[in-house]
């Protein structure tokens, strides 16, 4: 895998997924450009989390092909692949038996990073995520929701992955804290650009963070548009309203 510089680190080619008799995704064709933030939006059960799990091999497609870093996913070498893709989920998914710091550095330790390299990276992440160094010694349950989320993002970013997969990571946070974290994520992506797939049901969040919006409906792509275009086509439209109008149009 030497194709780090590929123009499209992730792509799905006519991908379908079934749960039993139920088709969750049907013939999805999508590719995601390097360095771009794409929001995948849709109602519950539209298949957006499934789409994310296809990318890091947590699920396998019934038909079609998933490509990462210009190669077909090798399902026998998933751990290696996944270290190149940060992964953060709703709630936080922090390991309750590990202190914040140990949660963040676990993957780096397993990848046999040196202690200095780990310390350097942790210091970077602390600064980017506005995390107090004192919090690192706490267990997850001793952190606020926002702090947990920042630790979760830091963990996903630890190995400097080329791709970041975020599955509704901010869903359980209060609006004010969420606004702060949005700001920090944007700063972080400005400092360290990467290909981001953000799954969310919140159109406002999608418009704020992403440059491209993909709306899924009943397992298919209903809309695929750039945020800039949406803004110019539908000026001064509230994001929630906009989503409904778009879906009505499509």
């Amino acid at each position: 895998m030497v194709t780090t510089g590929s123009a499209h680190p992730l792509s799905l080619d006519k991908v379908s997924v079934n749960f039993g008799n139920h088709a969750v995704l049907r013939g999805i064709d999508l590719s995601f450009a390097a360095g771009a933030v794409t929001a995948v939006v849709g109602a519950s059960g539209c298949g957006k989390s499934t789409l994310l799990k296809l990318c890091n091999g947590l699920l396998r497609p019934a038909a079609g092909e998933v490509r990462a870093f210009a190669e077909r996913l090798d399902y026998d070498r998933l751990p290696q692949l996944r270290r190149r893709m940060g992964y953060a989920v709703q709630g936080t998914g922090l390991f309750p038996h590990l202190r914040a710091r140990d949660n963040i550095v676990l993957a780096a330790q397993l990848a046999r990073w040196s202690a200095e390299a780990i310390d350097t990276r942790v210091a970077e992440l602390l600064q980017l995520m506005h995390l107090d160094v004192a919090l690192l010694e706490r267990y997850p349950h001793q952190l606020s929701g926002g702090q947990q989320q920042r630790v979760g993002l830091s963990r996903a970013m630890m190995l400097r992955p080329e791709v970041l997969l975020l599955d509704e990571p901010f869903a359980a946070i209060d609006p004010i804290t969420r606004e702060d974290i949005h700001q920090q994520l944007l700063e972080l992506l400005a400092a360290e650009p990467r290909t981001v797939l953000l799954v969310t049901h919140d159109m406002r969040e999608a418009m704020r963070l992403a440059s491209r919006i993909v709306v899924l409906r009943e397992g298919q792509v209903a809309i695929d548009a750039s945020v800039a275009q949406l803004r110019s086509d539908w000026p001064s439209r509230e994001p929630e309203r906009l989503l409904l109008d778009l879906l009505a149009d499509a």
Partner: protein, 489 residues
């Protein structure tokens, strides 16, 4: 390489009991007279420069006889009546027939001590006079009397079943520990029990015999039951014990043990010294030394069994936790083992593994499996599936996930399981003395058979203390291994 040599040596030693003539293993059954006679044999042999291994208090006639047959022990004191009716299951053999039947099994019953210890029924003397009870037949007209017999007597061919049939008794006896029966008689909770004619407690509890007027009970001549592969000079030494005891002497010696709390070894040595059979020996093992030794053996039994149980149960749980059906089956099997009574389990292993620590450890190991296995599985099943998915998504391999995420999260439950197993083991290991593995059960069993509370406490108190110490140790371990918010309340 070294292991192989040790193993070869071990096998050689087991195959050639005759080649190590200097070491003899003497067994005894779990009651005072058997201890005493076994000690007489042991003390005499030691006086003649033999090394003697003692396997005292083996669990009953059948177990002791099996141990002799398999070569685990070389000899033990037995009674002619027990040999014919229980061990050979052919009552009514005369002397010559008995010798022939034993010779078939490479055993001999040559040296007789000179006294008989027959079965008898006893009643408190006061009751005997009040109800004018003279013979066992008199019990027929006294249907209100409460009968209670030792477990062995209740089940032996020549015990209660024969008694009931021959005398036509209609009482429904209860079964209880022999030593407890005397106390029950003393407190008026029981009227009749079985006893032995040389019993040292008969005088103490003021008990009188009921005459066996229909001559049901066979003669129980005491002697040495030995393997015929004993060397001739050993036999000659043993023969010095021939005819040295009679019933009154035996009753008196038994009383010194049961009522006066003397040690069988000391009583045996003093008696043989008095008869000029052995040179005076410096006696005395201190109580503290004995407790320390027993505690060490006890600890060795339980920690080995527990360690093995962890080595087997935790990986097994990890293996089957991926397949719920297999997990259920394994738990079910472990539960099944748990329901087998400890003594039965021990008895089952004797033909396979003989007497001693290995048998005891295997039984304790089996009992420890279930708590460790079940708790490990519960711990693994309770790990949040989301965390497992995140770990996978982060790129952890299956092994890393098990070691870094699943096991640490299941740790509180696993520790609780090991702790339960440890405490159960410490309790159950007191039964190990029945198969000659020693430990803190040794003084308990001896104390029970000799009716000696001090001796019982000598085993029971350290065992209880050990259980408490283990609880503390595990609490400390949990403090080290498990963050406070994840501890099992």
């Amino acid at each position: 390489m070294t292991m192989r040599w040790v193993l070869a040596l071990f096998i050689l030693l087991r195959l050639l009991p005759g080649a190590t003539a200097e070491t003899l293993t003497v067994g005894s059954k779990p009651y005072g007279e058997s201890y005493l006679l076994a000690e007489m044999i042991a003390v005499l042999l030691e006086d003649r420069a033999y090394t003697v291994e003692r396997r005292h208090g083996l669990g009953g006639s059948a177990i002791t006889f099996a141990a002799l047959n398999s070569g685990e022990i070389d000899l033990y004191p037995e009674y002619s009546g027990t040999i014919t009716s229980v061990l050979l299951a052919s009552p009514g053999l005369d002397g010559a027939q008995l010798d022939a039947a034993l010779a078939d099994q490479d055993l001999s019953f040559a040296t007789r001590f000179g006294f008989e210890n027959n079965y008898a029924l006893v009643v408190p003397r006061a009751l005997k006079e009040e109800r004018r009870l003279e013979t066992i037949s008199d019990l027929r007209a006294a249907g209100d009397l409460r009968l209670g017999f030792s477990y062995e007597f209740m089940n032996r061919e020549d015990g209660w079943p024969a008694l009931q049939a021959q005398y036509g008794l209609e009482q429904q006896p209860i079964a209880l520990e022999h030593a407890l029966a005397y106390r029950a008689l003393d407190r008026g909770r029981l009227d009749v029990t079985d006893a032995y004619t040389t019993d040292g407690d008969l005088a103490l509890y003021e008990l009188g015999f009921l005459d066996d007027d229909l001559e049901l009970f066979p003669s129980y001549e005491a002697g040495i039951l030995a393997r015929t592969d004993l060397p001739a000079d050993t036999r000659k030494i043993l023969d010095e014990l021939r005819g040295i005891l009679d019933e009154p002497t035996m009753q008196r010696l038994n009383q010194r043990i049961s009522s006066e709390g003397e040690e069988p070894a000391a009583v045996a040595a003093e008696f043989l010294e008095g008869r000029g059979l052995i040179a005076p020996v410096a006696k005395g093992s201190s109580r503290t030394g004995r407790i320390a030794r027993n505690t060490l053996v006890h600890l060795r039994l339980t920690t080995t069994a527990l360690g093995l149980a962890c080595i087997v149960a935790i990986p097994l749980a990890l293996l089957v936790s991926r397949a719920p059906q297999a997990a259920r089956t394994v738990q079910y099997l472990a539960g099944l083992i748990q329901t087998i009574p400890a003594l039965a389990l021990l008895a089952l292993f004797i033909p396979l593994l003989g007497l001693g620590e290995v048998t005891a450890i295997l039984a304790l190991f089996l009992y420890s499996l279930l708590p460790v296995l079940r708790n490990t599985l519960t711990g693994l099943f309770s790990v949040d599936p989301l965390l497992k998915e995140v770990a996978t998504g982060m790129g952890l391999t299956a092994a890393q996930q098990t070691l870094r995420i699943e096991l640490p999260l299941a740790m509180p439950m696993i520790l609780a399981g090991i702790r339960t197993a440890a405490v159960i083991s410490i309790g159950t290991a007191t039964l190990a003395a029945f198969v000659g593995a020693g430990g803190l059960g040794q003084p308990i069993i001896t104390g029970l058979s000799l009716n000696d509370n001090r001796l019982i406490l000598e085993g029971a108190v350290p065992a209880a203390a050990l259980a408490v110490v283990v609880e503390f140790l595990f609490e400390a371990l949990e403090r080290r291994l498990v963050p406070v918010h994840l501890r099992v309340r």
